[in-house]
Symmetry: C2
Subunit: 195 residues, 2 copies
DNA sequence: CGCGCGATTGAGTAATTTCAAATCTAGTGG
DNA sequence: CCACTAGATTTGAAATTACTCAATCGCGCG
């Protein structure tokens, strides 16, 4: 089922942090000890609308969707959270308010969880981690802006192509309904564009 | 012309940083010394497409637009940078590559400039500043996501209303053509919606 | 007065949505 | 192996929304 054993998945987070920071082994161990590992199954939700958002999640394996459901019940997909991704309802997480977004498994998924208290403690106690999260936040901001631009400048058909080009596995892993919700078009429209 | 004297504008940056961080006066002085102050006039550009992006800018007064111009020459407005805002072509800034965006004055504007070297030095030498920029980056990321959602869920007419509600002065300060470029509709469409 | 810029209006066109129906597909139980 | 069902996908047709292009309007300023 899973391609990685439990120990090598813990290695995944370790390597992910090492790539960007220069922490001592001691610091790294202290950092990792603040995370807890959890497994979820397809269709389970890590974050539900109205509930408190206790964690930010590092995705070790699997696939999640971050969704806003509007009054009419339409689903709008803010992101696919893949392996190596950090995801949460950040607005709710940082303000300790109830979630407005939901985070739900599209596949069986393993994550590492970090509470806000631990996040803040890490940022204050391990300078390298503040820089680490700063870099993540900056790249997240930049890609959100680029997604905005692609909505402004690019036809849905090309956005679809670019999405498949950027994440070649995605076409196999999720339904077209999900892809449409990410691209910002109806599933019928996406279907017609596929030609 | 300007509502603030030079010295009180420097206070603006000082207070802006103090609001979020807990730096000593010494640290704060060291931080401020890395910034340089510059004034620009309406229609001047701080960042031009193809040119290196040497600074991130803190807007002390005035108003800027961050724009992407597509192949057809259409302008897409990523943000209005107002007083207290931090702005740049962050992608280009952090990667030291040529700008793909332009940053242009919609009014006479005073900014404080910070080079990437100084930004990185501040983040490493003054832990409070890494946390400061982390907080800015996180809120920037969150608002970019919410703008995405508003594009997905909300009709252009309501987005227009919400923009005016959020920034009441904006309707007076910029042309409707600029507002349309921010909302992601043509100026003709915006004109028709204004009823 | 007349120029120039921004805003508006009109008409035709293109893209997308909605709602409904038909089709396809994978998995289940007989 | 087949029939059956639930979910996903596709297709059709009408209605909506926004776009483009062109013409017109309104206004401030030299």
């Amino acid at each position: 089922m899973h391609a990685y054993s439990i120990s090598s998945m813990s290695e995944l987070l370790r390597h992910h942090i090492r790539k960007v920071t220069s922490l001592t082994e001691e610091e790294l161990a202290a950092v990792l000890s603040r995370f807890s590992r959890r497994s979820y199954r397809k269709h389970q939700s890590l974050i539900q609308v109205g509930q408190p958002v206790l964690h930010v999640y590092f995705v070790a394996s699997g696939l999640l969707k971050l969704v806003y459901a509007d009054e009419a019940g339409r689903q709008h997909l803010l992101s696919f959270a893949m392996e190596d991704w950090w995801e949460s309802d950040f607005q709710a997480y940082f303000t300790r308010r109830p979630a407005t977004l939901s985070l739900t498994c599209l596949e069986d998924t393993v994550v590492y969880c970090l509470t806000l208290d631990d996040y803040q403690a890490l940022c204050h106690e391990v300078p390298g981690m503040a820089l680490f999260f700063l870099q993540k936040a900056n790249t997240g901001y930049i890609s959100a802006q680029q997604r905005l631009l692609s909505l402004f400048t690019t036809q849905a058909a090309q956005r679809y192509q670019q999405l498949l080009d950027s994440y070649p596995t995605l076409g196999q892993r999720v339904s077209k309904t999900q892809l449409a919700a990410y691209l910002g078009v109806s599933r019928e429209t996406l279907s017609r564009l596929s030609k």
